[in-house]
């Protein structure tokens, strides 16, 4: 989908590894962090904290109208009810997509992202191309993701740069009436909860 601007330092990732080892070594020697903290945080973000969390929230909202109502009224509390809270999720706002409204989230200044429900952001979300372009030409950007929106659809771009974090509630796909919440969870992609894809 185009070239990655991180290529400029591609040659130095060996250096980065060495510098990271030096930093870890100093922090451990100074007693500021321990190996198990680093190992466990990495493990949690690799295994437990990721878009499957957001997908469970979305599936429950699709399955339970009263939960959906609560989620849209008080995202933080409704998401905490699923066990998801903490860093980069102090205040969660859920944005409902509909046939007439499409929401898409960015952080132009850095890469703010709702960690408790989506984990750590993918590279494209952190890319200079996405950060610079989606506020100015969201339809063109979305079309590069394969999502063509009719002009009648209002595109709402959310630049998340205070402490508020956003989760997009995608439209429930057709033909999923009989599915359980667990089955629905598997349908919900990360990209649909950022707003660069529909389901």
């Amino acid at each position: 989908m185009g070239h990655d601007h991180d290529h400029h330092h591609a040659h130095s990732s060996a250096d980065a590894e060495i510098r990271a080892k030096a930093l870890e070594s100093l922090l451990i020697e100074k007693g500021l962090i321990s190996t198990d903290v680093i190992d466990e945080i990495v493990r949690q973000y690799e295994e437990d904290i990721g878009p499957m969390n957001g997908a469970r929230v979305v599936a429950r909202a699709w399955s339970d109208p009263s939960y959906k109502k609560w989620l849209l009224e008080d995202g933080t509390a409704a998401i905490a009810d699923m066990g998801y809270s903490g860093k980069e999720g102090a205040k969660m706002v859920v944005l409902e997509n509909s046939p007439s409204t499409h929401n898409v989230v960015v952080c132009t200044l850095c890469s703010c992202y709702p960690w408790p429900v989506l984990g750590l952001p993918p590279n494209w979300y952190k890319s200079y191309a996405y950060r610079s372009r989606v506020v100015r030409e969201p339809r063109k950007v979305l079309s590069e993701f394969g999502l063509e929106l009719d002009e009648s659809v209002e595109v709402r771009v959310w630049d998340s740069n205070s402490e508020i974090r956003y989760l997009v509630l995608p439209e429930r796909p057709e033909g999923t009436d009989g599915l359980s919440a667990d089955e629905l969870t598997k349908l919900v992609s990360r990209d649909s909860m950022i707003g660069v894809a529909k389901l």
Binding site: L109, S132, D159, E163
Partner: protein, 223 residues
């Protein structure tokens, strides 16, 4: 700070790079840098984001995401005096010359417990302040034309533009660099809605709006 990080609306960065089935971390060091950046219990002077924004713009653009995090974490520890440049360089030299060596392994149940608590801790908004919010939903506002040398969360592309207060959210700590000797202010936070045409003029795409959260001190009554 009007630095390169404030890139909303810029041209020239090409197409969006997309990777199918992207791993959380592309190399083990990225995850370790992430954990050290977030779970070392020492603050970064001026804030983590500001430390990244102050990077030389050419370095900012050529560094990868976790290289920027490593820079901010390392620079912050240097400025706090946790270790010296000499100590750091000696360590880098050591690991460059001993590529099979690893950092020491230390387990610490107490540190782990604290980290796991902070990982999931709910952080509520700040308590209400003596002055009530100046704006309410529906008010027309103008985002200030401000160019602070310190950190700010008001991007350039919104400055001076007319918008509408869409929602008021409690009081929150203003992340901007406070004046010397002062604490971070606690202010009402609002969701502001801008029409794309107001932001981008004739080049705006049709039927687009932008929502962005702004602290009260970013806003002026529109005239």
């Amino acid at each position: 700070m009007n630095s390169i990080h404030d890139m909303g609306g810029m041209h020239g960065f090409g197409k969006i790079p997309y990777e199918e089935n992207e791993p959380v971390f592309h190399a083990a060091w990225e995850g370790r840098v992430y954990a050290m950046a977030m779970y070392t219990p020492v603050g970064v002077p001026g804030g983590f984001r500001y430390m990244i924004e102050k990077m030389d713009p050419a370095d900012y653009l050529s560094a990868s995401y976790y290289e920027k995090w490593m820079h901010a974490r390392t620079q912050g520890l240097l400025e706090k005096g946790i270790f010296t440049q000499q100590e750091l360089e000696a360590k880098i030299k050591y690991f460059a010359e001993h590529q099979d060596e690893q950092p020491p392994v230390v387990q610490d149940a107490e540190k782990l417990e604290r980290a796991l608590q902070s990982l999931v801790k709910q952080q509520p908004p700040d308590p209400a302040q003596p002055n009530p919010p100046k704006f309410k939903a529906g008010d027309m506002i103008r985002a200030k034309n401000m160019h602070p040398v310190g950190h700010t969360r008001l991007p350039r592309y919104c400055r001076g533009k007319l918008g509408v207060v869409d929602h008021y959210y409690d009081y929150w700590r203003v992340d901007d660099t406070p004046p010397a000797g002062e604490e971070h202010a606690i202010e009402p936070l609002y969701r502001i809605k801008f029409e794309a045409r107001e932001l981008w003029g004739d080049e705006a795409e049709p039927n687009q709006v932008l929502y962005i959260d702004m602290f009260e001190s970013y806003l002026e009554t529109s005239v």
